[in-house]
Amino acid sequence: MDVVNALAETWPRRAPLRRPFGDVAREHLEDVYRYLVFFTADPVLAEDLTGETFEKAFRSWKRFDPRRGSERTWLCQLARSKALDHFRLEARRRRRENRSASEPPQTGEPFAEGISAELEAALRSLTAGEREVVVLRVVLELDAVAAARVLGISRSACSMRFARALQKLEERMEAHAVA
């Protein structure tokens, strides 16, 4: 029996139990939706993508390992992947239809209530990549490591991208304010 116990001690420990998916979905639904709203600048699209994100998360829930990151970070990674897939499809569709992105922008729904018009306009003038780093660091308050994991880049690259995005946001806000 001593041999069995010694062998059992050397065995890798079991991973921490995952929470029920329903609890996780209720807790992080707002965060994921908010992330996608800022990322896509389209609340309607963000709603669809959020639903698809949680459907995919439900199917992949068994593979989630809490030791490798938080649930929110993992959900944001899935949401980002869904959003990028949508962007790729849209880009292919535009190319097929010979439509360029330089056509006049359509006025979309507002991001959120309570945001000034200058901030709203400044956010819309950023690229999707700039908006997403801002929403991850500022709105969702992810630390640099978690945000870098979501973006799939290094921590230093994430910090640099964030600093530039903020600077640009500020410039656009001042420009819109002057205008």
């Binding site: 041999v3 600048a41 459907e55 068994k62 690229t127 709105v139 308050e141 964030f162």
Partner: protein
């Protein structure tokens, strides 16, 4: 208005954490962050219902066996494996020993074509079950046919002393079985030695001879050559019978007294020729009988080559030898696989890195492209 300065990353972290701003730029950034964080972005009720429906689906909990149970199972499997391996090795060893004694068929190396009748005899002997107490040999069972049997057996013994003693034992065994030693050569030098004995053994005692001679050392090679001589024997026996019949006829003619002198002389000459032919036929028959009544067996004894370590077959040292052989083989296979697979792995790694870089470029282009609903201008 000058463009805002780029705030250092470390200072940004502090400002986002709530540190007191030291410049107007930092104050503006903090205000921006507060405004963004404070803006409510509630999820629509339709989205809530949709996600709630997903979460309500039953999630089967993955039950894993306890570590102790896994450890017990692993130990049990190891013990079973070791027992099976040991059993298989013992079985293989017993089979090898039986083959050495001629229990099982070994590949035949014939110098001359074996007639179909002999092939059939040999195959019957090889396929029939043989009790261990009475081993079968490569010599065909007595079938009533005249056969010329030649055998060669190579034995390995440990040292020169055993070469001498085994040679003496082989001579004694041959004589006990009614055979003769036609030639014997023994050569020893230090611990090395070799010997070659040519024996003639009565065919009826050949099985015993092979069994007892194989006990003198380790059989390393064995060969049998069989030639059926029944047809020539039958032919010469028939000729002898014909000649005797003709001789009787001639003797009867001479005894009848009805021959004239010329005919009598001719008959006597004819009789003499017949008698000479009969003698020759009998001599030929004696040669065949001599070949078929005794088998020729060549026994070669030798010691291992110098410098070649004798591998022990059993016990701990035998197990260590076998483990060493296995590890050497496994190491050779590992080196081969490494040499063959490493260029492929390098190519795969390069392809993966290129693909990843390409995907990143595409992603960066997608994220920098203005999306519908925005008026983004790439900086």
């Amino acid at each position: 208005m000058p463009s805002p300065e780029l705030v250092a990353s470390s200072r940004l972290e502090a400002l986002l954490a709530g540190a007191f701003p030291e410049t107007q730029a930092e104050a503006r950034l903090q205000g921006l962050a507060r405004e963004l964080r404070g803006a409510p972005v509630p999820a629509p009720s339709s989205l809530r219902e949709r996600v709630a429906g997903i979460g309500a689906a039953a999630q089967p909990r993955v039950r894993r066996p306890s570590r102790r149970l896994v450890a017990v199972l692993a130990l049990t499997i190891l013990v079973l494996f070791a027992c099976t391996f040991a059993a298989l090795r013992l079985t293989a060893k017993s089979r090898t020993a039986s083959e050495n004694l001629g229990l099982a068929p070994v590949p035949r190396h014939t110098e001359r074509d074996v007639p179909p009748a002999i092939e059939k005899d040999l195959s019957q002997i090889e396929s029939s079950p043989v009790p261990l107490s009475r081993p079968a040999t490569l010599a065909p069972a007595p079938s009533g046919r005249a056969q010329d049997i030649d055998m060669w057996i190579d034995l390995r013994v440990q040292d020169a002393d055993q070469v001498s003693s085994a040679s003496q034992d082989a001579v004694r065994i041959t004589r006990e079985l009614g055979g003769v030693v036609t030639s014997s050569t023994v050569d020893t030098h230090g611990t090395q030695g070799r010997a070659q004995l040519t024996l003639r053994i009565p065919v009826g005692n050949l099985d015993d001879a092979v069994f007892r001679l194989a006990q003198l050392g380790t059989v390393t090679a064995q060969r049998t050559n069989t030639q059926d001589l029944q047809a020539p024997l039958d032919h010469v026996s028939q000729r002898i019978a014909e000649l005797r019949s003709k001789i009787r006829i001639e003797l009867a003619r001479l005894a009848s007294g009805q021959l004239d002198p010329a005919e009598e002389l001719e008959a006597r000459i004819h009789l003499e020729n017949l008698r000479r032919n009969l003698r020759e036929a009998k001599a030929a028959r004696d040669v065949i009988v001599s070949k078929t009544s005794m088998a020729d067996l060549t026994l070669r004894l030798s010691t291992p080559a110098p410098g070649a370590p004798e591998k022990s077959e059993s016990g701990v040292s035998g197990a260590v030898d076998r483990a060493g052989d296995f590890l050497r083989g496994a190491g050779a296979v590992a080196v081969f696989l490494t040499l063959v697979l490493s260029p492929l792995l390098v190519l795969a790694a390069i392809a993966w890195a290129l693909l990843r870089a390409r995907n990143r470029r595409i992603e960066a282009r997608l994220l920098d492209e203005p999306q519908p609903g925005t008026s983004a201008r790439s900086s």
